[in-house]
């Protein structure tokens, strides 16, 4: 291969990488109800935990405000919401998630609620090393009608590199993670829950939620 041929090959490779790297996400889910409703505020209900780790619900709940707020939504203060449920005798996430949408709308004044189920959390799922895995499912429900506006699932692992983000919200994650590590006594699973929450609930991702009214990208998707 002559240097010229190498050059051409490299240029072609760069073009291909650029094209694939920035390809518009393939939208395969139906956004019709989402587009009609256009919620402004989201109530994140305490996540139901199916993992053996008792920190799972708190870990996911504490991380979910970030992707939702940065996507342009008002997120009701999650700890205050959790307290409100507890003070009203709804002590478990399952009980909170069983409240009728209309009732939730009346109490919290939110347009939509995010129902999350944590399916994996912590290190108990791996055999080879002490990898932390967090996986969760979620659905966004219109609190006026009870209609499901969006649903999705995501997972992340501490064994992955964090360099798979690129621009956008995933790029922000790196900052967020660094802040948490510097921040204090947080555990690996909590950090991984941050990645999972972004993959799950950030706009601008394939099959993700749409941007909300507080985002500069509102209505661009």
């Amino acid at each position: 291969m002559s240097p010229r041929q190498i050059l051409v090959a490299l240029a072609a490779l760069a073009t291909v990488l650029l094209a694939t790297g920035c390809a518009a996400p393939a939208k395969s889910i139906d956004y019709a109800a989402f587009r009609t409703t256009r919620p402004k505020s989201i109530l994140v209900l305490p996540p139901v935990n199916e993992s053996p780790d008792i920190n799972a619900s708190a870990g996911m709940l504490a991380q979910l405000s970030f992707p939702l707020a940065e996507s342009g939504y008002y997120v009701l203060p999650v700890a205050l919401v959790a307290e409100t449920f507890r003070n009203n005798g709804l002590d478990t996430p399952a009980e909170a998630q069983a409240v009728a949408p209309a009732k939730l709308q009346e109490i919290f004044g939110a347009d939509a609620a995010l129902y999350v189920k944590v399916t994996k959390y912590g290190t108990s799922y791996t055999v080879i090393n002490s990898e932390a895995v967090v996986a969760a499912d979620a659905r966004l429900v219109d609190l006026k009608t009870g209609a499901v506006l969006w649903s999705g699932s995501a997972s992340a692992s501490s064994a992955e590199g964090l360099n798979n983000g690129g621009g956008g919200l995933m790029g922000l994650l790196v900052t967020a993670v660094v802040q948490q590590i510097i921040g204090s006594l947080t555990d690996a699973s909590f950090t991984v829950a941050g990645t999972t929450s972004l993959r799950l609930a950030a706009a601008g991702r394939p099959n993700g939620i749409l941007y909300g009214p507080r985002s500069p990208k509102y209505l661009s998707d």
Partner: protein, 131 residues
Amino acid sequence: MHRSSRTGLVLLLAGAAVLGGCAHRTEPIYQWESYQTQVYQYLQGQSSDPQKQIASLEADFQKIRAQNHKPPPGFHAHLGMLYASVGKDDQALQEFQTEKSLFPESTAFIDMLLAKANSRKNSQQDKEKTL
């Protein structure tokens, strides 16, 4: 330019193009500081020392304001809840009002909480009167 160094340059440029190609990087809307960590610790029941959490969030807020950024949704409401838990009702009220003015979407929830707190206080005062 030597041929091998030119190939190196081309490689470098190609690499930069690939890395930079998708960097229409989004600026964050909010400055988060330790909010998520504070929420996590609160939810885990590590709120035995709310004063320490208040101090952390107040320090965060100074930092956020100094950089002319915005705290995230829930930040002031969470701080208000911590103030209320240590009996500093005036500061709690102020934080809840700040949350409302920054985020009018919170109005219904916060007004409901304040109304409940008021009615509890009133019924307590009534009890004291009757005793």
